[in-house]
């Protein structure tokens, strides 16, 4: 299935765009979305350990299974306040 991943802050700047379309197997996980993202934007891979993922406005771990209707986002650790 096709998924659009929203990118923010340094992740957005490194990818030079605020969202990116990736391919993930049906019932694929966040871990698989991450692999697809790094294939599309290799420059993000060096930050793999710190990048966070969110699905439908909540933080998601690597095992989270994705659906086509999910709003998926990837970004560095937050630093607001």
């Amino acid at each position: 299935m096709k998924l659009s991943v929203l990118l923010f802050a340094a992740a957005r700047e490194i990818a030079c765009r605020d969202s990116i379309d990736i391919d993930v197997p049906d019932s694929g996980t966040v871990a698989q979305a991450r692999m697809s993202l790094f294939e599309a934007v290799p420059a993000l891979e060096s930050s793999a350990a710190t990048l966070l993922w969110a699905v439908n406005n909540e933080f998601a771990n690597e095992e989270r299974i994705l659906r086509e209707s999910d709003v998926v986002a990837c970004f560095p650790p937050v630093s607001g306040g």
């Binding site: 923010f8 930050s47 630093s79």
Partner: protein, 152 residues
């Protein structure tokens, strides 16, 4: 009450919103844009937000604050976009029957907000350089060389 805004935060209105005859104590916290961090001079700040998730996270923060502490009113506002020196980036107001709970709740909200609400801060320095700041609790993020001393 939560607010995510690109306008100046009205901290007086936020404080009034939590005042209540049932409360004997109000604590307001303001985060403001600081000019100097050691010898490094900041020119302005840029806050980027993931607005939909940030609003959801702020609402969760208010709800969890009400579960954890004996509070009457809770109001949280975060600004994003370009901020100048001295501007208020975040405001947290809580009221409680007693002051210990008001202080504890206010501190918990700002500490937790900094770790859970998807907002990012980019410092623009007077020498023209710019960098995304590292969060306090996750050393080693995407760029820059910030450390915990950069945080307010």
């Amino acid at each position: 009450m939560i607010e995510l805004t690109q306008q100046a935060i009205d901290f007086s209105a936020l404080t009034e919103a939590v005042r209540d005859h049932r409360a004997g104590a109000v604590v307001l916290f303001l985060g403001t844009v600081r000019e100097f961090t050691g010898d490094i001079q900041t020119s302005w700040l840029e806050y980027e937000a993931f607005p939909e998730m940030a609003e959801a996270a702020l609402n969760r923060l208010e709800a969890e604050c009400r579960e954890r502490f004996t509070v009457v009113g809770v109001a949280i506002a975060h600004r994003y976009g370009r901020l100048e020196l001295g501007d208020v980036s975040v405001a947290v107001a809580v009221s409680s029957p007693h002051r210990a709970q008001a202080f504890d709740a206010g501190r918990w909200v700002i500490d937790t907000l900094k770790n859970t609400v998807p907002i990012w801060k980019k410092e623009h320095y007077t020498d023209g350089a710019a960098e995304w700041l590292h969060p306090e609790s996750a050393p080693g993020s995407l760029s820059g060389n910030g450390d915990t001393e950069l945080e307010s």
